[in-house]
Symmetry: C2
Subunit: 330 residues, 2 copies
DNA sequence: CATTTTTCTGCAAATGTTTGCGGAAATGTT
DNA sequence: AACATTTCCGCAAACATTTGCAGAAAAATG
């Protein structure tokens, strides 16, 4: 069958050269209106569509971005991706999405895949213990723009788009101090991650000035550990009257324990979390949180990537400001 | 600069022809070991990587699947995608992800994008009022396998991979009958969707046999409407002693209202939902639900798509069996 | 030494599109 | 009529890879 239409097939039908057909379809001034009309008619009839493989080869571009995240099925990343995809599409780009599963090896493989597919740019949230840095440097030097988001390297080698971690943690701490609490339990995630360190340090910087408040810092790897931790805290003598949660995951664990206890929120114990808002709104009472929006971050990151398509820019650190969303947990 | 390595550049360096270099790298028996060694060394040194644009052009394949969903940031789809991506990668494929936003126009545009990118296959969960059917038929006839999942057309034209909707709704109804309830409020989603119809009909088929139970069916478009609906139900005289929720979205709305009421769960009113389990586990008490796993469905759908890569298969309707997960809400 | 066989390599075409350059035909100017 | 200009179109190369075919050189056989 005549399967798919090509310039060649159209030109053969009309006894024209391939180049004439190409130019006619592109409204090139060299081609007469009569020829243009004939060509366009037949092209429409044959449902001609330029072969993107050929165009990619010729232009050495694909209009596709590689996007690497630890896991798509995550409250934060799924909204990030959702926003990024919409913006990309508006500018004629598409996303190729790859998951690292928080595995540095998988991450490196995904980066190689990006190279293999010759994506026009890479957006990446890095896995813990990532060794992707040098790979990314190489890609950048080969003209593939790299935008790091959320979990970013500390070096100033790449564009970074992040939640205002310090600002958010500072805001959290200041909020807590307003409520006259005595014993604060602050639960953070993996201690090794820079995101944890940044948040913890900014948080502590404020709390240490408050001599009237005893602050205890703890770390946990997942929701179950947060639950465990909370259980220990409320049964032992430490008895905090406030718990700060660095993330949704932690908040979920904390709340599961508190629900089973007889503690009233915020009467006996108050809660403040960092979140995109979905989980806090689900819980009862609704949790007060510092907003960290994946949507917003996705918009910012894609905007930056698209800027990099137009011109080469020196690396820039972009920060998404945060805000306090009042619930009923404080 | 020598930017990226190509066969041509390697061949120039070694005074060989392009074809010899190509064959050497592919261990073709025609090429002497000595030549092979030389070529491979230089290729490694220059970090040669075959140009996928050229390969795509030549083979007329891209090893990329198009995946169209209403919205990525959705408990169900994000896990579907997560599973699908992992399986695709294992078989050397990648995913290009596009969102329709439940807009038939956007959906059609995305399908055209898939055609433009010449993806090797399309996985799609269709928007309400989709008119993609004929487009998909055309793609299928042009040799692009189509796998519909979750929201699928009723025709037998394509592979479909679905939750066992009837089975799940039947299981839900049977579960409810076991608990000696009098007044059941069953809340479903958009009445126009086939998924809604299937679940509702199967549900009703069981309930109508139970003369002792009064069943009321309601529909709602989103979480807020479900909240409203519940509010009306518990304040007016109807006073249900059970609420069935077709989806997480509905469950969330229902629970928000119930939390503010003084009704005890399951004492005064019991709850049964359909869900992937995440939300039910978050709520208090934990909600009993019929499991509808996005992960599992993603695995099934990708498996089917990969089968279609090997050989042409007649359309097949694949159904993911469901199970009851006991919480504390019944 | 002549012929056949084996071993190795290169030519050229094909995939589809774009574009600089040149050239033919038609029209316009003296 | 001779020349210049405009209008319209095609050739061919380029992008990178693969592969059937042919052919040269070397080795083996008679």
């Amino acid at each position: 069958m005549g399967q798919t239409a090509t310039l060649k097939k159209i030109s053969a039908q009309l006894n024209l050269s391939i180049s004439t057909v190409s130019r006619a379809l592109k409204n090139h001034p060299d081609i007469s209106d009569k020829t243009k009309r004939k060509v366009k008619e037949l092209a429409a009839l044959m449902e001609y569509e330029p072969n993107s493989y050929a165009i990619n080869l010729r232009t050495n571009k694909s209009r596709v971005f590689g996007l690497i995240v630890p896991d798509i099925s995550n409250m934060f990343y799924d909204s990030f991706i959702s926003a990024a995809e919409k913006d990309a599409r508006k500018s004629g780009y598409s996303l190729m999405i790859l998951q690292s599963g928080d595995d540095p090896l998988q991450e490196a493989e995904n980066l190689k895949l990006c190279k293999h597919y010759r994506v026009d740019g890479i957006l990446i949230s890095m896995a813990p213990n990532s060794y992707a840095h040098e790979l990314l440097i190489k890609y950048r030097d080969n003209g593939i723009p790299v935008v790091c988001f959320d979990k970013t390297p500390v070096s100033g080698d790449f564009d970074t788009v992040c939640i205002a971690d310090e600002e958010a943690a500072t805001l959290a701490a200041h909020t807590i101090t307003r409520y006259n609490r005595k014993k604060v339990l602050a639960i953070f995630g993996n201690e090794e991650l820079s995101i944890t360190k940044k948040r913890r340090d900014a948080f502590l910087k404020v709390m240490e000035k408050e001599k009237k408040i005893a602050t205890e810092i703890r770390y946990c790897a997942n929701s179950a550990e947060a639950r465990e931790l909370t259980q220990q805290a409320i049964t032992k003598t430490s008895n905090p009257d406030h718990i700060f949660c660095m993330s949704d995951e932690i908040l979920i664990g904390v709340m599961k324990t508190l629900k089973r206890s007889k503690l009233a929120i915020p009467g006996d114990i108050s809660i403040l979390s960092m979140s995109n808002g979905f989980i806090p709104g689900l819980l009862n009472p609704e949790i007060t949180y510092i907003e960290t929006s994946g949507y917003e971050l996705g918009h910012l990151a894609m905007k930056r990537m698209l800027e990099n398509m137009d011109e080469q820019n020196p690396p820039k650190a972009i920060v998404l400001p945060c805000r306090l969303v009042e619930g009923e947990s404080m």
